[in-house]
């Protein structure tokens, strides 16, 4: 299990590095999918299979696909890749990278020196879909309703902002989220 975790973690990190260094957006997005998949594996090793599935479906599926759609709609060309290359000059990213590195160093240091709380007595951290579902529709049901409202806000906003001459986008945006029904449930 541990080995799986470490491999998946390494893949995730590497894929993410690839994401942030690609000039071509589609390439980057494909790496992003890899990264998400790797994280899904990590979830599995962490004993959260349901989440692993959601990660794949929603992140790697819905969200990335949505972005790809938009990219396609904007019909990005070869020049945009060149442009991207030009934007990613080392002198431009050195400063921010340094800042981030400081932050990372601090965070890592803090995490490493921090004494972790002891795990609870109950052994085994496997939390299955059932437990999650019970919690979600038990105590957290209000949260579900609230996320419905959240999605409604997102939809209304996207609808208003995305409205353009081209009807196509309009329809895409409207259909993108299946959770819409839930928002109406409140």
């Amino acid at each position: 299990m541990e080995l799986t975790f470490y491999i998946a973690a390494a893949v995730a990190v590497l894929a993410t590095i690839m994401v942030i260094t690609r000039y071509n957006m589609i390439h980057a997005l494909l790496y992003l999918v890899v990264s998400f998949l790797a994280v899904a594996v990590v979830f599995l090793t962490m004993g959260a299979p349901f989440m692993a599935a959601l990660e794949v479906i929603v992140y790697a599926g819905a969200i990335v696909v949505l972005i790809i759609f938009v990219i396609m709609m904007l019909s990005l060309t070869r020049e945009d890749v060149e442009q991207e290359k030009a934007w990613l000059q080392p002198k431009l990213w050195m400063g921010p990278a340094l800042l981030s590195f400081v932050l990372l160093a601090e965070l890592v240091y803090l995490l490493v020196i921090a004494e972790m709380p002891a795990a609870p007595a109950v052994a085994g951290s496997y939390v299955d879909a059932r437990a999650v579902g019970l919690a979600l529709y038990g105590p957290y049901v209000l949260g579900v309703q609230l996320s419905g409202i959240l999605l409604m806000a997102g939809i209304v906003g996207a609808y208003h902002l995305g409205r353009q001459k081209k009807k196509v986008i309009h329809r895409f945006l409207q259909e993108k989220e299946p959770q819409k029904e839930r928002s109406a449930a409140i």
Partner: protein, 628 residues
């Protein structure tokens, strides 16, 4: 009659008020009536009161008009105090003042601001009366300052000329320097005695202080400071020659009856304190001696007739100080009175001359006036004789002689003071008769315009009579021994104690004084009438001319003060006109704006920078978490 006491100062004040209110809307005749009349009635009341006072001889008369204010035991009143000393002063002020007022009706007849002139003159007389009649020092201070104000207004009467304004301000400011000293003296007196009532202080002082008490000395010196300022004594004498900028009657009033004698009055009035402070007494005498010499020498070199008279005033007041300084109180006051007469006379004569010569004041352009203006000539001669202490027949001889004699005979006397006085007398007679010869003899250089009429001649004659006869009320021991004046003052001012066995030399000293005086006159005659070329030969000498210039400028005091005080003050003020403290606040404001610019630059509008901002914040927070 005693109830009328308050009217003496009130009438001139009322006259002034009336003239201010009515201003130029009323006729000149009415203005004269109010102006002259108010002082005239005051003089009349003074006369009546004086007679009554002489007959009944109370120690003093006090009249409280109202309580001025009362704060925690500090309760001065508007109250008048009449005793022999103030009597003398009131007499001189009202009578001489009255005469000068009469004289002014003619002298100022042509002036546009006739009403203003009389308003100020009345105010002047009123303030001076207030000064000498005050029963407490605060009221005295009121009069004291009022005199300063009036001198300012009158010296700068012809205000269009900036120089006059300068002279006026100079007078006011310099005398105010002295006033500051008095004020501090008053604070100390109040702290000591809890009151500023003069009589109380006089009675308390002897009980509280022993002779030479430090506080007493300080107070005496502070009072002296004030006296020096008003009386034009060293080192605050510089305003007085410039004060000639005002109309001549004003000069007469300032020099004869009012202002300059205020210092003499103050010292005489506070003699108890001074007697307890021998050092201050000595200072008074020394100041008097030095001043009389300096002013004498300066007078020698002046060409402006009024300036000569001005320096002579300084010099004569120096004699008074000399007298007061050795404790010869009544001699000082006596000289004050006589000086009041003859100085008023001289000034009024000078005024008549100036008026006749179309406002020409330079003696070099005068001459041969004895024929044209006979009344003026003879009265001037009497005045000059008095000033030069012409032996036996002039009042000035008796008063000055008394002072000189007491320098040796008095217990506090001192041979050096005597010699200074003697030298002063010599110079006095030189410059006095220099004036006489330059003005009235020789050939006529300027056409005589205005001939004086009665309003000028009557005051001249009256004053001439007083200058001539005034001396006979106080004659030396060996000389009739009339002591009317000192007897009159005896209850107020202690007699000077005479060194025993000195009386027999008195006639020698008198002779010496007479010789000195006559010698001075002779030299003047020689230089300025008989052989004017002698002067020219002197003028050829470089050194003599330097000395001449030095004396002419009043021993360079003006330049000294200019460099020492005036210019630094003006420079300090001008250089800091825009207030350097303000620049500190301006700097604050600028710095804030600078910070604003700095911060504004961070708002680039570029999102990535904002992200960086958040990251920096995160780093900051984590760093704090790490370090603490």
């Amino acid at each position: 009659m005693e109830e009328l006491l308050w009217l003496i100062p009130a009438l001139p004040f009322a006259g002034a008020l009336l003239l201010v209110l009515l201003g130029n809307r009323i006729s000149r005749a009415l203005v004269s009536a109010i102006g002259v009349g108010s002082v005239g009635i005051s003089a009349a009341i003074t006369l009546v009161l004086g007679i009554e006072y002489l007959t009944s001889r109370p120690s003093f008369i006090r009249q409280e008009v109202w309580q001025w204010f009362d704060v925690a035991g500090f309760s001065p009143s508007i109250a008048f105090h009449l005793d022999a000393l103030s009597m003398v002063f009131i007499f001189v002020i009202t009578f001489v003042g009255f005469l000068i007022h009469i004289y002014s009706t003619e002298y100022m007849a042509e002036d546009k601001d006739y009403a203003r002139f009389f308003a100020c003159m009345n105010l002047f007389v009123g303030s001076m009366l207030m000064l000498v009649m005050a029963d407490n020092l605060l009221l005295l201070y009121l009069g004291w300052e009022g005199v300063g104000l009036c001198s300012y207004l009158l010296i700068g009467f012809w205000y269009k000329e900036p120089a006059n304004g300068y002279a006026a301000r100079k007078a006011f400011i310099i005398t105010r320097v002295g006033d500051t000293a008095i004020a501090i003296g008053l604070f100390m007196l109040f702290q000591q005695f809890g009151t500023l009532h003069i009589q109380s202080i006089s009675t308390e002082a002897v009980q509280v202080w022993t002779i030479g008490n430090e506080t007493a000395v300080i107070i005496a010196f502070l009072l002296l400071g004030g006296a020096v300022g008003k009386s034009g004594q060293l080192p605050l004498q510089t305003w007085l020659p410039d004060a000639m900028a005002g109309p001549t009657p004003v000069s007469a009033l300032i020099h004869a009856a009012t202002m300059v004698t205020a210092g003499v009055y103050l010292i005489a009035r506070m003699h108890v304190v001074f007697e307890l402070a021998p050092a201050a007494m000595m200072a008074v005498a020394v100041i008097g001696a030095i001043t009389l010499l300096i002013a004498g020498f300066a007078a020698l070199t002046q060409y402006d007739i009024k300036r000569v008279l001005a320096y002579s005033t300084i010099s004569q007041v120096g004699y008074m100080f000399l007298a007061l300084g050795v404790g010869a109180w009544s001699a000082g006051v006596f000289h004050f009175m006589i000086h009041g007469f003859f100085k008023a006379l001289l000034f009024l004569c000078a005024g008549a001359i100036i008026l006749a010569l179309h406002h020409e004041q330079d003696m070099r352009k005068m001459g041969g006036l004895s024929k044209k203006l006979p009344v003026v000539f003879y009265t001037f001669l009497i005045g000059a004789a008095s000033l030069a202490a012409f032996p036996l027949v002039s009042a000035g001889f008796y008063s000055k002689d008394q002072i000189l004699w007491l320098q040796l005979a008095g217990e506090n006397g001192n041979i050096w003071l005597y010699l200074a006085g003697l030298l002063g007398a010599f110079i006095t007679s030189i410059y006095t008769f220099r004036m006489v010869f330059l003005t009235f003899y020789g050939e006529e250089k300027t056409h005589v315009g205005h001939k004086p009429t009665w309003a000028i001649t009557v005051p001249l004659i009256v004053l001439a009579v007083l200058s001539f006869a005034g001396g006979f009320i106080e004659l030396p021991h060996n000389f009739g021994h009339v002591v009317l004046f000192s007897d009159f003052l005896a209850p107020i001012l202690p007699a000077v104690s005479i060194v025993p066995d000195f009386t027999q030399y008195e006639w020698m000293l008198q002779l010496l004084a007479a010789v000195i005086s006559l010698g001075g006159i002779f030299i003047a005659y020689l230089f300025y009438y008989k052989k004017p070329e002698l002067i020219d030969s002197i003028h050829r000498s470089e050194f003599a001319m330097a000395v001449h210039r030095f004396w002419h400028s009043g021993w360079g005091f003006d330049q000294l003060y200019d460099a020492l005080f005036v210019r630094p003050y003006v420079y300090l003020s001008k250089v800091n006109k825009s207030d350097f403290i303000d620049s500190f606040y301006t700097f604050l404001a600028d710095a804030t704006q600078g910070l604003h610019d700095l911060f504004s630059r961070s708002q680039t509008g570029i999102m990535r920078n904002y992200v960086a901002g958040i990251v920096v914040g995160a780093i900051m927070i984590l760093t704090i978490s790490l370090l603490l």
